[in-house]
């Protein structure tokens, strides 16, 4: 109940010095608003880039074959390692943290033709699982299936742009196209993905054509060997474990040391997101710290104005004490006033910060700029910081006020 009185009095004291209080509050308002905007920007940037990277496959882990640097059990080092489908089967059998695995056979750019339209499209020989691993979602028709693989069928799945360029608005599923003169039946069209920050090769997924890997081997590469295997760990956190399991499995089959860094190369989404996370977190910490420092300087402004206010109100403190205010009443009075000013400023800062976040979202932003997100956790931190700054700014002035001697304060002119 005393607190209610105190807050009412604090409000009156603030109202009687509007300009002065307003100017003091500016530092805190600025600090909190920039904290919310900048940290929000860091968070939205991370989200944006994570989403961008996940386009290529949300847990995709690419492995390509290198050269063994040392030999094992009498076999010389320096050999080029080449994968076969047996390696894929071995990984399926022996690597429990691998959820999905598929070969990927690069067949290069093929001249693609439908009626009078001619294109040069990057083509990949894929397996049944590849669609899931690489986030290739079918919009129409179907993806490559087990029968296609088993029978070396001449079927293809078109990227959205390929379909658009060859067929326009016309139906494509069921139609036949020619790739380097060979007839392929279109069995499916992929969903439109748009531009990609991360790609499996030079072209974006929308510009590619997928065919069964067995068909690719039979018609284009003429070899049972291939250079890349695509994996999907059970979770992003399994990335490291999967690499270890796969190394162990293949080391045995290809006679290289399991810790041979040159034999197998990996690159995965977890790694990319990890890097972006590092950058984004660095950004967040830097921006956050910068705005917290602004906030602290704002707090020093509040402390200063509290001292001024107390020096102006020595008589008042004397009166308060003469009619029965104890030290803690006086202390509380000024702490509340300080917290009140800071909190009010913080509230305005939060409102301004959030409005600016929302306002930025209304604009058409450049491709890799995301509107700052308003994060509840950031809000919580902001309010805790404001309260802390208010208390810290008030402690010294309030202590001075509460320690004044009543007789001296009463007769202060």
């Amino acid at each position: 109940m005393f607190l209610v009185e105190t807050i009412a009095q604090a409000w009156q004291s603030i109202r009687s010095h509007k300009l002065r209080t307003g100017l003091t509050m500016f530092g805190v308002i600025w600090g909190i608003a920039s904290f919310i905007i900048l940290v929000g920007l860091g968070k939205s940037t991370l989200k944006l880039f994570s989403r961008e990277f996940e386009k290529v496959g949300k847990r995709m882990l690419v492995m390509w074959a290198g050269q063994s640097s040392s030999g094992l059990s009498g076999i010389k080092g320096g050999r080029q390692i080449r994968f076969t489908i047996d390696d894929v089967e071995a990984i399926k059998a022996h690597c429990p943290h691998v959820e999905l695995v598929s070969p990927q056979i690069y067949t290069g750019y093929q001249e693609t033709k439908y009626e009078n339209e001619v294109l040069s499209s990057e083509t990949f020989g894929l397996d049944v699982n590849s669609g899931v691993i690489r986030n290739l979602d079918v919009a129409k028709g179907r993806f490559i299936n087990a029968d296609d693989i088993a029978l070396n069928r001449r079927v293809c799945v078109l990227g959205a742009n390929v379909k658009e360029k060859l067929f326009g608005e016309r139906e494509s599923v069921g139609e036949f196209i020619r790739m380097s003169g060979i007839r392929f039946q279109v069995v499916g069209v992929l969903q439109h993905k748009g531009d990609q920050l991360s790609r499996v090769s030079g072209s974006i997924d929308d510009d590619q054509i997928s065919i069964p890997y067995t068909t690719a081997q039979a018609l284009f590469t003429g070899s049972k060997y291939f250079g890349m295997i695509y994996l999907q760990p059970r979770s992003l956190f399994d990335d490291k474990t999967v690499r270890e399991e796969v190394r162990q499995t293949l080391a045995l089959r290809h006679s290289f040391e399991p810790d041979d860094a040159d034999a197998l190369h990996f690159f995965g989404i977890a790694e990319m997101i990890g890097r972006v996370k590092g950058v984004a977190m660095g950004m967040e910490i830097f921006f956050g710290a910068a705005s917290i420092i602004t906030l602290l300087i704002g707090g020093i402004g509040v402390m200063n104005i509290m001292f001024v206010s107390i020096n102006e109100r020595v008589r008042e403190i004397g009166i308060m004490k003469a009619v029965g205010a104890k030290s803690r009443h006086v202390f509380l009075q000024f702490i509340v006033e300080s917290v009140f000013v800071t909190f009010l400023a913080g509230l305005i800062g939060v409102l301004i910060g959030c409005s600016i976040c929302l306002l930025i979202g209304l604009f058409n932003l450049p491709r890799f700029v995301a509107a700052p997100v308003i994060d509840p956790f950031v809000m919580l931190i902001a309010f805790l910081t404001i309260t802390l700054v208010g208390i810290l700014s008030g402690i010294l002035p309030a202590l001075r006020a509460s320690r004044m001697q009543v007789v001296e304060a009463l007769r202060y002119y």
Binding site: M1, F2, V4, E5, Q9, Q12, S13, S16, R315, E316, G318, I319, M320, K321, A322, V323, G324, A325, K326, S327, R328, H329, Q405, V406, V407, L410
Partner: protein, 234 residues
Amino acid sequence: MSSIDQYVVALRGVTKVYGSSDVEVHALRGISVGIHMGEFVSIVGPSGSGKTTLMDIIGCLSRPTSGEYYLGGKDVSRLNDDALAEIRNNEIGFVFQTFNLIPRLTALQNVELPLVYAGVPARERFRRAQELLESVGLAERIHHKPSALSGGEVQRVAVARALVNRPSLILADEPTGNLDSTSEAEIIALLKDLHDKGNTIIIVTHNPSVAGQAQRTISLKDGHVVSDLSKAPS
């Protein structure tokens, strides 16, 4: 002095020394005074006689350097600051020469202030403050700030504030010092009326006409009581 219990205010050998050991100022040099319940006492003396210091001690605003002070039978001469604040809150009503109202607060809020520290609920505070402001003739002005009131009105608000906690002692320090003669008469009449209602009043003044209103006059000089005269009841 037989027993301290029969006095509202009982001082025994009270001294007050200001300053450090090098530069000592002896403001009070052994004051022993007893004031009964319901008395109207004036304390007079020239500047530097120690009357303000004595008033500070009686009002529990400061502690004696030595000697004892019993207020309502309780030794308050060694209490700490917060305990003294509580005594001031419960037992003493102050009326100051410079009024000492808080300028930001309305008349009503100023009168309520002691009750805020006493923890009285808002409704009860309002009722008591309003009643007292009415009784000092300010019913129409309870929501005015001190700056919108005349000197006499401000001092009447101060009197209302002094009464709001139902003190056992009202201490007035030169209460008419800043007032014109009309307002002075009003305030004196108000204090006499309070005395008639049974309140104990101590008034510190160097104005002989104000001092003459009291039943009893204690004169100080150089920190000593030089005379303590009571009027025969008229």
